[in-house]
Amino acid sequence: MDLQLDQFLFILRIVLVALIYLFLIQLIFVVRRDLARLSSGGGPRGGTTARKTIGHLVVVKPGPLALRPGHQLELEPVTTMGRGPTNTVVLEDSRISSEHMRITFHDRQWWVEDLGSRNKTFLNGNQVPVGQSVPARPGDLLVLGPLDGVVTFKFGI
């Protein structure tokens, strides 16, 4: 089958532009699917509707967390914080111990406990004793780390 050159080039020209658009459509399709997967499965809200939230911490000073001040961090019945990867809230900072502290909910109240951290935990300015739970009320200020703290939270209602 022979074609005139200009006809052939005309076809190629259309094919070239069409290819850019096809690539674009493919891209949009992939990205859309990515976003759909994120909003249905990955987020903290989706998928886990059965679990009831029992309280939250308001971020005052985010430190190493990728959160803004004012962000609400949902608390679980047992929430651990520290540098180690197994903690509920992982705080990657050299001044935070690998298992720094624990917040638990029992007897209708929040309890704060230091797990023997090097740079201490403070509740309203008072040092939290190691291995002994102290009750915490909404509005209490929770500080982790030395001096004025690496991370600061406020107990929410």
Binding site: D2, L3, V15, I20, L24, D34
Partner: protein, 456 residues
């Protein structure tokens, strides 16, 4: 949640298919136009030899894909295909424009091959970046001052060279640093990355203070000076260097990066307001100081269709490039003349400053719209990676690096369309040139690493 089927990057290879086909057909068309045989049959279809640039690009991309499967299987799979498309369009345009560049600088027959070599070097450095950050981006954050000093030393070297060799203060120069005979490098490309690293590290460590309410000067809130000082110092030094090098476009780019990163880090319009104020002041100083800057602004008001005897010498002289660029763009119309069938080499420096005009002449409005959409996808993907990054430093780094792409595209396109003074900023991945391609691929490497360590 790492799924087992994410071990092989199927989506990436699928997405690489169309860009590969695109450059193959593009180069084939160029060969056909060149040979201009009257009839096309199975006998005189392009041979493998002439398709070499396209096959080279495809080979390099597949090799990178395989390397990423081994090095970083969980990294973002959309980023590489997007930049693959853009840089294969870059190689295609270099192949097309090289042999047609008029005598003073051209014809450069091997321009496409050169660009392919740069692409190879770029992808290699991209993988090298991925390997260098295999333990995370923490060390980059720790060495923030080292990066800042390194960038400034690089530009300082070329500043010294310019100041000792040029006496003419009214012409724009290009900061080139000769490494080896025949190979020169633009250190400012690396300075951009160094500055983004420094800004990201500094802002992520001080963002609480920057987010708070600072002191006030009367009614106007002022940024806290103690935390702001080092940043302003860095910015000032960067800008002074560029005023010395007379690359006002780069100064603008750095200021834009600084503003968007300040906003990303603090979330406050205050800094944007102050930055814009400083920019206005800087622009005024630049306008007063450099006659070439005044020229470029005054060219914006020139009517390229004018037959006024006062204006014609300007169109033939200072505004020649910009008017030829506009003519090239308008020749393309909606559907374009077809690849290899237009005449974009009338525009001086078409392979660097005006590659966009060449693309819009040959692919038309339809092609250019699609190209812009691909750029938007690139920027979307970059910010997507930034939003999902784990640490504030990674977030700011990814956001800042992405804004480099966004701002560069915007500045050069506005320049080509005569909406903004023309500057020597390259169009990311497409403009012919090694330094910018390599720097862009280092950025891609960093983004890939950040996307692999993202949360969830």
């Amino acid at each position: 949640m790492v799924e087992s089927r994410r071990q092989y990057r199927w989506r990436e290879i699928q997405l690489l298919l169309l860009p590969s086909l695109f450059i193959l057909i593009g180069v084939a068309q160029l060969v056909l136009v060149e040979n201009s045989a009257q009839r096309v049959s199975l006998g005189n279809l392009p041979t493998v030899d002439s398709l070499l640039p396209a096959l080279g690009v495809i080979g390099v991309l597949v090799a990178t894909h395989i390397a990423l499967c081994i090095l970083l299987p969980t990294a973002d799979q959309v980023l590489l295909p997007i930049v693959a498309f853009l840089s294969s369009l870059g190689v295609l345009m270099a192949v097309r424009l090289g042999p047609k560049i008029p005598p003073p600088t051209g014809p450069v027959d091997e321009l496409g091959t050169k660009q392919l070599v740069w692409l190879l070097a770029g992808l290699f450095l991209c993988l090298l970046t991925v390997v260098a950050t295999r333990k995370g981006t923490l060390w980059i954050r720790r060495y923030k001052y080292t990066f800042a000093v390194f960038g400034i030393v690089l530009v300082g070297a070329s500043l010294v060279r310019v100041l000792t060799s040029h006496i003419n203060f009214d012409s724009p120069t290009h900061d080139e640093l000769k490494i080896l005979p025949g190979i020169s490098f633009q250190p400012s490309e690396l300075l951009k990355i160094c500055l983004v690293i420094f800004f990201a590290a500094y802002l992520s460590e001080n963002r609480e203070i920057l987010g708070e309410k600072g002191p006030k000067l009367g009614f106007i809130p002022v940024p806290p000076l103690k935390q702001f000082g080092p940043l302003m110092l860095m910015l000032g030094v960067g800008l002074i260097f560029f005023l010395g090098l007379r690359e006002l476009g780069l100064a603008l780019l750095i200021l834009g990066i600084f503003l968007s990163m300040m906003y990303m880090g603090s979330g406050r319009m205050l800094y944007v307001g102050w930055g814009l104020g400083l920019f206005a002041a800087g622009a005024l100083i630049g306008y007063r100081l450099f006659s070439y800057a005044r020229d470029r602004v005054s060219i914006l008001t020139v009517d390229c269709n004018s037959h006024d005897p006062k204006v014609v010498p300007i169109i033939q002289g200072k505004a020649y490039q910009i008017c030829q660029g506009l003519i090239a763009i308008s020749t393309g119309g909606v559907f374009g003349t077809g690849l290899g069938l237009g005449d974009p080499t009338n525009v001086p420096e078409v392979q660097t400053d005006y590659v966009f005009a060449a693309i819009s002449e040959e692919f038309g409005l339809l092609g250019v719209m699609a190209l812009l959409a691909v750029y938007i996808m690139l920027i979307h993907r970059g910010f997507h990676i930034a939003a999902r990054a784990k640490t504030p430093f990674d977030q700011l780094l990814a956001g800042g690096l992405t804004s480099i792409f966004a701002l560069q595209t915007m500045i050069i396109l506005a320049g080509n369309l005569k909406m903004f003074p023309l500057t020597g900023i390259p169009l990311p991945f497409i403009t012919y040139g090694g330094s910018s391609l390599i720097a862009n691929f280092i950025i891609v490497g960093l983004l890939l690493r950040i996307s692999a360590t993202e949360s969830n």
